[in-house]
Subunit: 179 residues, 2 copies
């Protein structure tokens, strides 16, 4: 069941989830990210039912995350490809892969997949990076500031994590939240 | 409606989504990440119904992502906090915030929130980093290799993005997929 109304929320998280539709949508995106593209492949990969799969493919297409392309004639056969917008979701997928691996799936000896640089073969991780210095930032040191699109609800919701203006830079530095 | 069975899949993406439950679960995690913690706050923040909210809070607690703590007696009042495991989800949330901002939410002049370093105030972004060199890696250059937890289905599913062993490092470097 795809929930309605997430797309309209003034929140990037809700917006992205609205575009994905639900967890089946996310698994289809995972499959596309890994190189699958055919209807039967999605079926096999996740065990999704025909009804759900057809619905989610239509929805992802309507959201501009995937396109449908003919790759064979007589008989016509189609495959699905990620659009540029769809490829953006890769970052969310890779974050989930990384966290799931950290959590140690029950019954597994280790991660199922590692992310690597295609050229060097070095392991790759999803990290927080200071856009000015290029240094990595620890998750608990990340705060937020309000952007031009922030509405009243966003201001209220984020109040606990908004970075305070700098009276003396060293005092406001760390996470003021309790979590 | 929380889907069943995602937790059992040998896939980190499915596992993380299984723990989150659904998109409402993700919005509750977003609220906790931003510093909210009380039942009424979650209601106000996302407009979630009482039935859904109660259910998702129980599920997130059962998954070990949140805890419930008394912060006042007479009358007893409780709040929810992220566990260490729950805080891991921050990376997924920040990835979604970043992508949603890139996509430009309809009708907004710009992003609602920016991620910043609490100390320096510099903008922070979610990026892919080479764990050996610390250099940033472009998303399309990321491939995967099989880990010890990879089962038959994972091998098949990932075949299109698995990095080939290096005959000559420079030839296998780039994304062999069509997407």
């Amino acid at each position: 069941m795809r929930s309605k109304g997430f797309e309209g929320m003034t929140c990037s998280v809700a917006c992205v989830m609205g575009a994905l539709g639900d967890r089946w949508g996310m698994l289809i995106m995972r499959d596309l990210f890994l190189g699958l593209g055919r209807y039967e492949d999605f079926r096999r990969s996740s065990g999704v039912t025909n009804a759900t799969l057809s619905d989610r493919l239509k929805a992802l297409k309507a959201q501009g995350l995937i396109t449908r392309q003919r790759y064979q004639t007589r008989p016509d056969r189609h495959e699905y490809l990620l659009t540029e917008k769809g490829r953006d979701i890769g970052l969310v997928l890779m974050s989930m892969m990384q966290i799931g691996s950290q959590w140690n799936l029950p019954g597994l000896e280790g991660p199922a997949l590692y992310l690597v640089d295609g050229s060097s073969g070095h392991k790759v991780k999803v990290a927080l990076v200071d856009t000015e210095t290029g240094q990595q930032v620890s998750p608990q040191d990340v705060m937020v500031t309000l952007g031009p699109g922030a509405d009243e609800l966003t201001r209220w919701r984020s109040a606990g994590r908004i970075r305070k203006p700098e009276p003396s830079e060293s005092e406001t530095g760390h996470d003021q939240r309790k979590t």
